[in-house]
């Protein structure tokens, strides 16, 4: 039996937070087994496809024959479809019965950071990382190395016999498997030759262009032979360092801190000995003392996407009529399919600085209060002040996200304002930060009225950013 504190911790780290239903069942005293929950999540193998990914078509050479204006139009259209896929994925994260799968797919999108140029390639890429999210890292790596989006992103289209482009080969080792310092410049140059001709065909699928492939002998990790790209990948995975590097990164993702040396050794062994089964690492983490350690609970900061997903769930948002998900991602600095660079996004404290924090703190207020202000029907909260007037314009414009306040209200029943506020705090914030003096101080300085205001107040606190 876990405490509420532990339950929230578990759901935040392996999912996107505690749902209202889960909170209420806990209050009723229902049993919860982390072990069983995890087993169920790991067994789950049906990936619900994103609706738009079923309809996308490649941008074929005949499409390129169109005139300039039409082509521009087509490119614009493509961008829109990519954003649509982005929104559909966010929706999946917020509603999927298997949050762990989406959470892990999000990890892989960061690990295999990539910015697809077309909707066809974006679909193919996202399909792979969602399907293999909890599967096998070897299959995932082989798959990702032949994803058209990735080959183009890392310039392998320009990697040709006699004119190698090392970008792809370097990142395979630096970012995907071994980490910096665990290979030589020579290894980069030689493996780049093995990946020559790995390109994207006219059908926008992977193909080996034999005319551009260098079939000569290469010296990789000290061995001279006619290395092919697939063999390079398998050879890299023979290195235990690959298991250490990747499992350490997964460990940090869930723990919020680098695993201790002991735990790291355990993760490395399990990952390596299971031939890179991703579930072996996740199970070991969930069973580790470090994961459940009090001092680790609530000590990590939500990424922008995690914050967005939790808000969608916490407030039961209806965003069908707007571009809400995209605007929020842009405002907070993390847009799906647009990582800042090949190393992916920041994490933890690095998300927070003097410019991102104010936006984060104002977001939930905008969502919960903006609609009321627009409708002018309810001025009861905050004495009719427009608390959102200082929000970035683009944020205000796109904030047609309608929270389902009635549903939340009904779920809690008839409570007075301060009891309700504390209920929201216990549902939404880490236990250790509730009811400290600072929080009470801030609450007393602000005066938001009604259920809406009470929820906005809790969500406006810095503590709402924690996981």
């Amino acid at each position: 039996m876990k405490t509420l504190n532990q339950l929230k911790h578990f759901y935040f780290r392996f999912g996107f937070g505690l749902t209202l239903e889960d909170y209420l069942s806990f209050k009723k005293g229902e049993e919860f087994s982390a072990h069983k929950w995890l087993e169920r999540q790991l067994k789950f193998n049906k990936t619900k496809p994103l609706p738009t990914s079923k309809t996308v078509k490649p941008f074929l050479p005949k499409d390129l024959a169109m005139n300039k204006a039409d082509r521009q139009e087509k490119i614009k259209e493509e961008r829109k479809i990519i954003l649509k896929i982005n929104r559909e994925w966010i929706k999946q994260m917020a509603t999927n019965e298997n949050p762990l799968q989406e959470k892990m797919a999000l990890f892989w999108h960061d690990h295999f950071a990539c910015s697809p140029k077309s909707s066809f390639m974006a679909s193919s890429y996202i399909k792979l990382i969602r399907r293999e999210a909890l599967g096998n890292f070897r299959s995932l790596l082989h798959g990702i190395s032949k994803e058209p989006a990735m080959l183009l992103y890392l310039n392998n289209q320009q990697n040709k016999k006699g004119h190698p482009n090392e970008n792809f080969a370097r990142e395979v080792m630096e970012l995907f498997t071994l980490g910096l310092g665990n290979y030589t410049e020579q290894d980069v140059k030689e493996s780049a030759r093995a990946f020559t001709g790995w390109s994207v065909g006219e059908d926008k699928k992977y193909r080996l262009n034999e005319r551009q492939h260098d079939f000569g002998k290469k010296v990789f990790f000290g061995e001279k032979k006619n290395w092919m790209g697939e063999e390079i990948i398998d050879r890299i995975l023979e290195e235990k360092q690959a298991a250490e590097y990747v499992s350490g990164k997964i460990g940090k993702y869930f723990l919020g801190i680098q695993p201790s040396q002991d735990l790291q050794n355990e993760l490395t062994e399990k990952f390596y000995n299971s031939d890179y089964e991703i579930s072996s690492v996740i199970k070991a983490l969930a069973e580790s003392g470090e994961f459940w350690s009090e001092k680790n609970i609530g000590q990590d900061i939500l990424s922008p996407v995690e914050l967005l997903v939790r808000m969608e769930r916490d407030f039961q948002l209806n965003t069908d009529e707007s571009n809400f998900e995209i605007i929020v991602q842009k405002s907070l600095g993390q847009v799906i399919f647009q990582p800042p660079n090949v190393a992916g996004w920041p994490s933890g404290k690095d998300w927070i600085d003097t410019s991102t924090l104010p936006t984060r703190l104002s977001l939930s207020r905008a969502i919960l209060l903006e609609n009321v202000i627009k409708s002018r029907k309810n001025k009861s909260f905050a004495q009719g002040e427009d608390l959102t007037e200082n929000l970035p314009k683009r944020l205000k414009k796109g904030l047609s996200a309608v929270p389902n306040i009635a549903a939340i209200d009904n779920a809690f029943g008839d409570l007075d304002y301060s009891t309700k506020t504390m209920e929201f705090a216990h549902w939404l914030l880490p236990e250790s930060v509730i009811a400290n003096n600072e929080m009470i101080d801030v609450i007393s300085r602000l005066n938001f009225k009604g259920t809406r205001g009470s929820l906005a107040l809790i969500a406006a606190l810095p503590e709402y950013q924690l996981k």
Binding site: N155, Q157, Q158, K160, H163, N165, E166, N167, R170, E174, L180, E185, K189, G298, Q299, D300, I301, G333, N341, V342, A343, P346, K349, I352, D353, T354, S355, T356, L357, P358, L361, S362, R365, L387, E389, N390, L391, P392, P430, S432, V433, N436, N437, E438, M439, D441, V442, R445, L446, A460, L461, P462, E463, Q465, L466
Partner: protein, 389 residues
């Protein structure tokens, strides 16, 4: 023109806490002698060989049959170097002795990864050690200056980060106003001494933001007209920096960034557009500050995480390389012009230039000569000598 201090005197606002951010513990302005550093980071690895072109080199044209820029298109400087035609806005500045162009700048065992190399430039460590603090962040920690360094960006760069460092980032002018007007932020900023680590970090950040923004906004209210800057992100960023400088901001370090220099394919058009933006923005910035008498107190430093390979690649671009240039601009340069030796285009390290000037020796000059730090090596960690700025 009325500056900030005059305004404060005439309105009787001097000495009110309104103008003084608490966390910065301002005591007096006497330590401030008005020298400011403005960094411009070119992200992605600028191809310096097509920026300042060695137009007398046969090797250059041989290795870049498609990408090489013809001597006839080039504005010639000295030492066999010429300006990319898109940089023509810098010609005047160079000819006037307001530009220093260092050649062969790099560091030992160069790293060709964007992130690692940028980290090395940001932390001023050698390639073998890691740090989560930046050289300018550490400077703000060690210096007696009590005002926040300012980055015009969505977030703070590693170069500006330090424990307890006094740096803040705002994306633009509205970013400052939004903070000063935010009721929740003001309430949060009043709370201190949180026991929970991560929550405490958030509360402290909120306090820093609020007080820093209050200070900056007190300057910007007195805005004056500005010259025509290019309508680009960089133009707007430098315009904001100039506004603050012209209002006597006691902020001494400003940081700006322009991205997009990772030109693996079809480089020419992309790089030319970027360089034109750099050149036009800097030229406007310089005219703006010159007219205000502040150019002599300003040092602009332009750098990138690495240069690019000597030979063009098959895609009409260039791959990650090593050494490159570093530019300083300002009205008070002791030794302007082309400095250091051009690395050989023939004797290469894996196809890349071999550096001869460690970038940290230029940092040492900036820290000691310009930012008045007594011993730069307490930040740089090593004794590499100092280049006169």
């Amino acid at each position: 023109m009325q500056n900030r201090r005059d305004f404060l005197k005439t309105t009787g606002l001097v000495g009110t806490s309104l103008m003084v951010p608490k966390i910065f513990h301002l005591t007096s302005s006497s330590s401030f002698i008005g020298k400011r550093l403005v960094v411009l980071q070119l992200s992605g690895g600028n191809d310096w060989l097509n920026t300042f072109i060695p137009y007398q080199s046969d090797v250059y044209y041989r290795e870049r049959p498609r990408l090489g820029i013809k001597a006839s298109e080039i504005h010639k400087l000295s030492d066999g170097l010429g300006l990319n035609p898109s940089l023509i806005g810098l010609a005047d500045i160079y000819d006037n002795g307001e530009m220093t162009l260092f050649q062969g700048v790099g560091y030992p065992e160069p790293n060709r990864s964007h992130f690692r190399s940028m980290d090395i430039w940001h932390t001023a460590t050698d390639g073998t050690s890691y740090s989560d603090q930046g050289w300018l962040g550490k400077w703000s920690e060690k210096s007696k200056i009590n005002f926040p360094s300012l980055e015009i960006n969505d977030g703070l760069s590693l170069a500006m980060k330090a424990r307890g460092g006094k740096s803040m980032a705002v994306a633009n002018l509205n970013g400052i106003k939004r903070i000063t007007d935010d009721r929740v932020l003001q309430a949060v900023a009043h709370s201190h001494e949180h026991e929970h680590d991560m929550a405490s970090y958030l509360y402290k950040t909120a306090t820093n933001v609020t007080e820093g923004a209050n200070y900056l906004s007190s300057l910007i209210k007195l805005d004056s007209s500005s010259l025509n800057y290019p309508k680009s992100g960089l133009g707007a960023d430098l315009k904001l920096v100039a506004k603050l400088i012209k209002q006597d901001a006691e902020t001494r370090v400003f940081y700006t960034t322009l991205s997009g220099f990772d030109t693996h394919a079809n480089q020419r058009g992309t790089q030319d557009r970027l360089l034109k933006n750099v050149s036009d923005s800097l030229a406007a910035f310089r005219s703006d500050l010159k007219a205000d008498g502040q150019w002599d107190n300003t040092l602009v430093m332009v750098f990138s995480e690495f240069g690019r390979r000597v030979a063009q690649n098959a895609g009409g671009g260039t791959d990650h390389g090593t050494a490159g240039n570093l530019i300083l601009l300002g009205g008070d340069l002791k030794k302007p012009g082309v400095r250091g030796a051009m690395p050989s285009l023939k004797d290469l390290d894996h196809g890349d230039l071999i550096y001869n000037t460690d970038f940290r020796s230029i940092y040492a000059g900036v820290l000691e000569d310009w930012l008045q730090l007594k011993e730069a090596n307490q930040i740089l960690g090593t004794e590499l000598g100092k280049v006169t700025i």
